[in-house]
């Protein structure tokens, strides 16, 4: 048995980087804690606990008058409809953007690890477009659409579609990039087209993650209240904000239960699809 002939290379080459990284993180953490006045112990202060308890006690029993339930049911459907319509429109934009942005699908990258200048430019442009779409605050979209299409669900659906297009495009691309690239790369190397490589190499790997995220976004659209309320489009999120501002704990509680049920439903669909599709 040959004993190790060569000596152990002294030191882990990654160690210094890790040490510096940790130190840097600690140094950055300090001002963050200071600026955000991070003092968790005040949560345990007796008076705070009492006040919180009183506040939460108002949540029970949940509001269950027929009037309110009817109102909530109508708001629920409105919410679901707006979220679904908004998501559908967002997907129309997000899918092509995703295909453009995903680097694993780049043909010019094969062999060099670098992307051609044209690809790089287009990608960069689309990335900026996505950043723009999702970083313009919802309130600004809402203000704009109130001017163009007036109050009502149209403005809400449009605002969802635009913001979510930006988010979906970015996150989809990152999901595709994170998948194991072996199958995709092999298809591309044998002359497959980008889209062929996508559906035969990437989707089987990434479909479940894409489904999870899409369903989560749909949930978000259901909760999204800012734009909806702004344009008077109604829906659960808006009702919840109102009830909260008026401190009607029981109403908030009922709507929370509806939210949890809807979210659980979405979770179920997500689980089913992930199990079957992929």
């Amino acid at each position: 048995m040959p004993s190790p002939a060569v000596s152990l290379p002294h030191g882990d080459p990654a160690w210094r980087g890790r040490l510096i990284g940790t130190l840097l993180a600690a140094i950055i953490l300090w001002p963050l804690l200071a600026w955000s006045e991070f003092k968790p112990w005040i949560l345990l202060d007796e008076q705070s606990l009492k006040a919180t308890g009183r506040f939460l006690a108002a949540f029970f029993p949940p509001a269950h008058s027929l009037d309110f339930l009817a109102l909530a049911a109508e708001a629920t459907w409105q919410t679901v409809a707006m979220a679904t319509a908004g998501m559908a429109l967002a997907l129309i934009g997000a899918i092509p953007f995703t295909l453009i942005v995903t680097e694993q699908l780049s043909v010019s990258r094969i062999g060099t690890g670098r992307i051609g200048w044209l690809g790089r430019t287009v990608r960069q442009a689309v990335r900026w477009l996505l950043i723009l779409l999702r970083s313009v605050p919802e309130l600004v979209w809402a203000l704009l659409f109130v001017r163009i299409v007036g109050l009502g669900p149209t403005a809400g659906v449009l605002a969802i579609a635009l913001t979510y297009c930006g988010m979906l495009g970015k996150v989809y691309a990152e999901i595709l990039e994170s998948a194991n690239p072996h199958a995709t790369r092999s298809l591309l190397q044998n002359g497959g087209s980008r889209l062929g490589a996508l559906v035969y190499g990437m989707l089987p790997e990434a479909a479940s993650e894409l489904v999870s995220y899409t369903i989560y976004r749909w949930e978000c659209a259901i909760r999204g209240s800012v734009v909806m309320g702004f344009v008077g489009a109604g829906g659960l999120g808006q009702r919840m904000d109102e009830s909260m501002k008026m401190l009607a704990g029981d109403e908030v509680c009922t709507m929370l239960i509806i939210f949890v049920l809807l979210v659980a439903c979405a979770d179920g669909v997500s689980k089913l699809l992930r199990g079957r599709l992929a």
């Binding site: 963050l32 459907w77 319509a85 299409v149 659906v157 993650e209 995220y213 989560y216 909760r223």
Partner: protein
């Protein structure tokens, strides 16, 4: 030796499960029903003065306010926003990871269901409600804002992380566990490195979201860019709002770049 495969019967294709088809049909029906019941009015969007109106609206933002005093205020807002959002997201990422382990079914079906329910509640309660609760528990200030962000984001990240873990192919972890490694150790040596890029990307994406979070922070008096934006938009001070929007855009682009860079480093 040449065989004659044609002689052998081609086996019939297995039937596809109906459930997926049904779910997809149901989703299509939901989409159609949504568009049908909403009575959306597109004519406004495609009318002639839509473009003119939007141009006029956009022109209202120009030029962004650049008075030094205001820029200082924005800088303060940036610092506060960064501090709250980074800390809130960081706490949420850690808690989310801790909750994602049981929520991905690692400790059995009951644990999975229970933790998923908790995660559902955490993120079903909107940030505004968390802000109200925490305002009462922690008082005015960035701490309440940070916590409000952290609590809601924990629900979000916990769920996304759990799904990522469930979607990951389990072979690497199984190989270690077959050899007797403890479940947690196997997780840190096999599944975590495989899923880390995806989790990182979700975390950074939530960070972006939290940078934009507006309403909650105003309610707890925490300030930051979101609150400034709401303030100036409410007062129709468009030039100031434009500066704030630009600052947000820069922050989001910065986070996007960080996300891109980290992913480069990690996945190349």
């Amino acid at each position: 030796m040449k065989r004659e495969p044609g002689m052998k019967a081609l086996p019939p294709a297995p039937r596809r499960p109906l459930s997926v088809l049904l779910v997809l049909l149901a989703l299509a029906a939901l989409t159609i029903a949504s568009f049908a019941t909403l009575r959306l009015q597109w004519q406004g969007l495609f009318s002639a003065d839509a473009a003119a109106t939007s141009m006029e609206f956009l022109r209202g933002f120009a030029p962004p306010e650049t008075a030094p005093a205001f820029l200082w205020k924005v800088a303060g807002g940036i610092a506060e926003t960064l501090a709250m959002s980074a800390l809130g997201t960081g706490i949420a990422a850690l808690l989310g990871l801790a909750l994602a382990l049981p929520a991905s079914g690692r400790f059995g079906g009951v644990g999975r269901g229970f933790i998923r329910l908790i995660l559902n509640v955490l993120r079903s309660v909107p940030e505004l409600v968390w802000a109200a609760v925490l305002l009462i528990a922690a008082g005015l200030g960035p701490f309440a804002g940070t916590l409000a962000l952290a609590v809601h984001t924990t629900g979000v990240l916990g769920r996304l992380f759990a799904d990522t873990l469930e979607n990951e192919s389990p072979q690497a972890e199984a190989a270690l566990r077959i050899n007797g490694a403890a479940p947690m150790a196997a997780f840190f040596y096999a599944s975590l490195p495989q899923t880390l890029p995806q989790m990182m990307s979700y975390t950074l994406y939530r960070w972006e979201n939290n940078i934009r979070a507006a309403a909650i922070l105003g309610v707890v008096g925490a300030g930051g860019l979101g609150q400034m934006l709401k303030y100036h938009l409410s007062l129709f001070q468009m030039h100031q709002a434009a500066t704030v929007i630009l600052a947000m855009l820069l922050l989001v682009a910065l986070v996007d770049a960080v996300s891109f860079g980290l992913r480069r480093v990690m996945t190349r």
